[in-house]
Amino acid sequence: MEKFRKLTSHVVPLAEKDVDTDQIIPARFLTVIDKLGLGEHLFEDWRNLADGSPNPEFVLNRPEVQGAQILLAGSNFGCGSSREHAPWALMDWGVRAVISTSFADIFRNNSLKNGLLPVIVEAEAHKELFGIVAQDPQAEVTIDLVSQTVSFGNGHAVNFPMDPFAKLSLLEGVDQLGYLLSMEGKIAAYEASHDGS
């Protein structure tokens, strides 16, 4: 997993609420057997018009968001299926953090396992961020995982919650599988006391 400490970037604003994983990466692109190249199809059906040409209205096609590493999303982002292809596609496109007021549970879990940081902010800061980006699409936002803060505008900073275990894994870039494997003794003991009972 990729490490995450601190990130400064301009943002991609996508105000819509309840964005589901079928929009993030439509099912017809799930036939892959690896994780690569999914960014090409990120938001495919919103990105392209019916004739296959890029939809100039859709935010990902705007020149000013190119290179952005932060997605500023509406509430309940990532609802729907458990497909980890959703965070893979976002990361493959270049997104390293998503800021919203809330996330769907499985999407959040999947993101944390890949080094994609889900950042939950209060409604007020969320609104303010959208305002800042509307004014200046190049406005930079800094996310600091160590201090769990998002800073933007003129030194304005807000805190975000993060469970300590996930935080440590992200800071060190360690896969949680290592932790589970280190529990071997306890797992074996659990099996010994439950199997065949």
Partner: protein
């Protein structure tokens, strides 16, 4: 039991603590998984991870795989799906062989949608902790199990260690009082729950369904309810096991038998939530007030009783909510305030892990018997498993469907997520018994109305959205 007067506990709490392998401070719990179900779409990268690290599947005996998402339903021939889908299906066979996992492959008479076969094989049992790389794993909670969907990284974790790191969710009781009228089904209950609590109303929670209307449901209807629980954002849905559960399980392939059966029942009876246990949140519904439901928008909570009109935008006080309904109606090409009864449709899909079991097919066949699908309308009936298919054929249901002019297919996910070529065309309207009406879910540009098998079948007959009570 050491405490002579233990405080009452929820089913969630009991199953959770029964499965804790380790719990260190500042860390999520390490939970033991009793049953891990696998399918072709969310597992290849997990097996690849094992292979790269030279690891084994820790408990192949607790791991079962099937092929369902991208498989063809016209005939069991991989040449019928695109090359990548076929390669993914073959990769699953290769992985299962290499790692010693039981696989119900394309030729198996026990194959089907992963959440349909888990129950019908008796793999799903009360008190278990069940996971699968699929959000609708919540289906299995109908048996009084804690069952939830996981991502591919977690699939790898479970393959390697049979364990998962989890933080406990809050408990949420949805109590359904009263008794349903004829023409109203479990699908209508869950669509009504969705409309009431919203598409994120269950976030951070596990929902337990209680009350007389739930107790009166058979296992298949209970599965429909738990299945769609994920659509409200809840991680899992559950229903306490009772005699209905035990009768369903008795004699199934993987269910315990003989002495072990009696011991299992004793254990299973302990699983239910204790009288007086408290939940973090509660909502009550009266089944007697419910009518057949239909969705009008692009998430499953945008639903209403069939006879109602689509809400007008000023009915939404929340600006974001208003904007999403507005956008949804634009995609659906529908007007606020419009009635959906009589709205013309192009396709009817009966299938998916929500409503593709034998009782669902019987409901649909009951409406279609002696009737025809409307001219120009396409109707697909896709059984949830090969076993459901055999049962339906033994009862002659397939003949009713075929005579009516519907297509009768092999088991699979099919048009529920349109990965295998079964899909709506752009602009088409479909009434579907599946679980998601997201934009493009059933085919790029397709528009989905979610409803019960009764409503879907009645709408197929009339070629337009129809109240099934007019055809009962």
């Amino acid at each position: 039991m050491t405490d002579s007067n233990p405080s009452p506990r929820t089913m969630l709490s009991k199953i959770w603590s029964d499965h804790v392998v380790a719990q260190e401070p500042e860390s999520p719990a390490v939970l033991y998984i009793d049953l891990h179900l696998i399918h072709e779409v969310t597992s290849p990268q997990a097996f690849a991870g094992l292979r790269e690290a030279g690891r084994q599947v820790r408990r192949p005996d607790k791991t079962f795989a099937t092929m369902d998402h991208s498989t063809p339903t016209l005939a069991l021939d991989l040449n019928l799906v695109n090359k990548m889908a076929a390669a993914q299906v073959r990769q699953l066979a290769k992985n299962c062989k290499e790692f010693g996992v039981t696989l119900y492959d394309l030729q198996s008479d026990r194959r089907g949608i992963v959440h349909v076969i888990g129950a019908e094989l008796g793999l799903t049992q009360p008190g278990m902790l069940i996971v699968c790389g699929d959000s609708h794993t919540s289906t299995h909670g109908a048996f009084g199990a804690l069952a939830f969907g996981i991502g591919t990284s977690e699939v790898e974790h479970v393959l390697a260690t049979q364990c998962l790191l989890q933080t406990k969710q809050n408990s949420f009781e949805v109590r359904v009082e009263g008794k349903m009228d004829p023409g109203v089904t479990a699908k209508d209950i869950i669509l009504a729950v969705m409309a009431k609590i919203g598409v994120d109303g269950g976030n951070g929670h596990v929902i337990e369904y209680t009350g007389p209307a739930i107790r009166a449901l058979d296992m298949e209807q209970r599965m429909t309810i738990c299945n769609m629980t994920i659509e409200a954002g809840a991680r899992a849905g559950m229903i306490a096991p009772d005699d209905t559960t035990f009768e369903y399980l008795a004699g199934r392939e993987y269910a315990p038998s003989g002495k072990a059966w009696d011991a299992a029942i004793d254990h299973w009876r302990q699983v239910a939530t204790d009288e007086g246990a408290s939940f973090d949140r509660r909502v009550t519904l009266d089944a007697g007030e419910l009518e057949p439901m239909i969705t009008y928008g692009t998430n499953p909570s945008m639903g209403m009783p069939l006879g109602d009109r689509i809400p007008t935008l000023d009915q939404f006080s929340d600006v974001d909510q208003r904007q999403s309904v507005e956008k949804a109606l634009k995609y659906m090409d529908l007007e606020p305030g419009q009635s959906l009864l009589g709205h013309e449709i192009d396709v009817v899909f009966i299938g998916s892990c929500t409503n593709s079991r034998i009782t669902d097919l019987r409901l649909a066949a009951g409406i279609l018997d002696g009737r025809k699908v409307a001219e120009g309308l396409r109707m697909l009936v896709v059984p949830g498993s090969q076993s459901v298919k055999r049962q339906a054929e033994a009862e002659g249901l397939h003949e009713i469907f075929l005579k009516a002019g519907a297509e009768w297919r092999e088991a699979g996910c099919s048009m529920c997520l349109a990965m295998n070529g079964d899909e709506l065309e752009a602009g088409q309207y479909g009434v579907s018994t599946s679980n998601r009406n997201y934009e493009g879910r059933q085919g790029k540009g397709g528009r989905t109305f979610l409803a019960s098998p009764l409503t879907a079948a009645a709408s197929a007959v009339r070629g337009a959205i129809t109240d099934p009570r007019t055809l009962l």
